[in-house]
């Protein structure tokens, strides 16, 4: 120990070590991003603030999906359903019993978690493609189901709800308040998932993703971890759905078709499976690319999305996040 310290003081090569270690860079990037995120709503017009709010909502949903697909290696083609369940839980509880909106968040999280658990138990017995089938069928089934229980869900007409207003002391406009609510939820979710992945749980998930047999031999209980990965993942999708309801103030079955599920998976793949930045980049992609491509042709978003997914799987399986990482590493460090 002392020897190392001595070397640090005396030897010149040690002092030349770059100050920007990977961890340091990462921390600086997160701090800069957060500062920008706090500053942005005061500089943008309300519509752009709304768009950024939706990016945060999608980011939380993709964070959950990433936990399942990117970290645990299980597939879901039906995460839109959990998103919808969270959104409807919030909407129904606000509309019926008139629950104040902050309480709808834990309610949506719990309902989505339990549903994820219920689906996770049979899902444990299913290999990759069967899981994809079941989750896809679930997403397709949800829309007619929501329409059927008209008394509770408002049927095809959906439910219109008041948006959470900013408290008087804050002096914020409604769009800014919603933005900060979404930002708070997103930051908390990312922190939670980050610490989860650094724990033994994260290592267990990675182990089962990379080799189920080996993981089992090492003592990872596959059924428990797979089921829980499904449930946690559903929970974050539900939380995102709840914030969606706050922001939009309206839910209807047709907002949550199977296209939502597929778009979420596509966004995550393009953003980067299994990386921390992936969900954020994926959310930006989901929010902005379709609406820009829409101007070209009604079908252009799908064409671009489809081609990109296939291209990403070939040339950059780590998505935009992986590409960005590679570029950053290429920047020569200052000596």
């Amino acid at each position: 120990m002392t020897q190392v310290e001595d070397a640090g003081v005396d030897a010149r090569p040690e002092r030349r070590r770059p100050r920007w270690t990977p961890t340091g860079r990462r921390r600086a990037a997160v701090a800069a991003l957060l500062a920008a995120a706090l500053y942005a709503p005061f500089q943008l017009v309300p519509f752009h603030v709304f768009q950024l709010t939706m990016v945060l909502v999608y980011a939380v949903a993709l964070l959950g999906l990433n936990l399942l697909v990117g970290h645990a290696g299980q597939i879901s083609l039906g995460h839109g359903a959990f998103f919808a369940v969270g959104a409807y839980t919030a909407a129904v509880l606000t509309h019926g019993p008139g629950l104040p909106y902050p309480l709808t968040l834990p309610a949506a999280a719990v309902v989505a978690f339990l549903l994820g658990l219920a689906f996770g138990v049979p899902a444990v017995r299913l290999r990759g493609l069967y899981l994809a089938l079941v989750t896809l069928a679930m997403a397709i089934f949800l829309v007619p189901l929501l329409k059927r229980f008209e008394g509770v869900t408002g049927g095809s007409m959906g439910l219109t709800l008041p948006k959470p207003g900013p408290p008087a002391w804050s002096g914020l406009a409604e769009d800014q308040w919603l933005y900060f609510l979404a930002l708070a939820v997103a930051v908390a979710s990312f922190a939670l998932v980050g610490s989860l992945l650094r724990s033994r749980v994260g290592r267990a998930l990675h182990a089962l993703r990379d080799d189920e047999g080996a993981a089992e031999v090492m003592g990872v209980r596959l059924p428990a971890y797979k089921t829980l990965a499904f449930a946690w993942s559903a929970m974050f999708a539900g939380v995102a759905g709840c914030v969606y309801t706050w922001v939009i103030g309206f839910v209807s079955p047709d907002s949550f078709t199977v296209n939502l599920s597929i778009t979420l998976l596509a966004g995550l793949v393009v953003g980067g499976l299994g990386s921390t930045a992936g969900p954020v980049l994926g959310a930006l992609f989901v929010m902005f690319v379709p609406s820009i491509a829409q101007d070209l042709n009604e079908a252009a978003p799908g064409v671009i999305l489809g081609l990109l997914i296939i291209a990403v799987m070939y040339v950059a399986p780590t998505g935009l996040a992986g590409l960005a990482g590679r570029l950053i590493r290429k920047i020569p460090r200052k000596e």
């Binding site: 990759g128 047999g213 489809g306």
Partner: protein, 293 residues
Amino acid sequence: MAGFLQQVVEGLGAGAVYASLALALVLIYQFTGIVNFAQGELAMFSAYVAWQAMAAGLPFWAALALTLAVSFAGGMLIERIVIRLVEGAPELTLVIVTVGLFIFVNAAAGWIWTFLIKDFPNPFPRGALEVGGVSVGFSTLGVLGVVALVMGLLYLLFQHTKIGLGMRAVAANPDSARLVGIRVGRTLALGWGLAATVGAVSGVLVAPLLFLEPNMMGGVLIYAFAAATLGGFDSPAGAVAGGVIVGVAETLAGAYVPAVGSDLKIGVPLAIILGVLLVRPRGLFGRAVVERA
């Protein structure tokens, strides 16, 4: 009783359509171990090709022949260009790539032919056959006949031709097949072409019943998945049997179970998929897969 039989007949007609798409899914699964999520969209695209050919003035049967040829070539091309590159990749990658294909083909059809629904002529005569108080539509009979024909042709191809023998060899063990001199790559492409052709038949059969539009096959795909799961993903005969069972079950549940009704019929395939996977994951006619970890 007549009412019940009538429902069964309706179910058979629907089931035959599901069976044809399930057959396409099973063909690809047998050869490449891929569940092709884009199969329904490829069938829809084929139906559009047929529509375009008829719009250009071709009679129905000529348009059908052209469509089958185009679909065959298209299926082979997709295998060569898209699937070849991810051969042997993890299941997650394969599923994602076929989902990408799904999105792309769906949007491409929308781009070329717009999302407005189009009328598609029914090749079978109107009217129905009355048998003991049950009326069997000619179109139902026609669909059943076409699927039986496709099934029969596939049987002849697989069991009584050299190409079929090679295809079975590749499906059973690609490495050994390569060692005895079978061109495995070509055979796989052939398998995809064949599946796309069978899918095209299903698309052309569905289009007159549902109206032609890019999202036409979304629901049918789920029924076909249920059919393939029920019959066993590695059994073509099972896929057809599964399709018919799913069709009849769905129609009967819609008619006689008030909780299902006409709007929640899509829950039937979901229940079948879940039930089969939990009770007998290999399906009715499939072989159990033994894996070495």
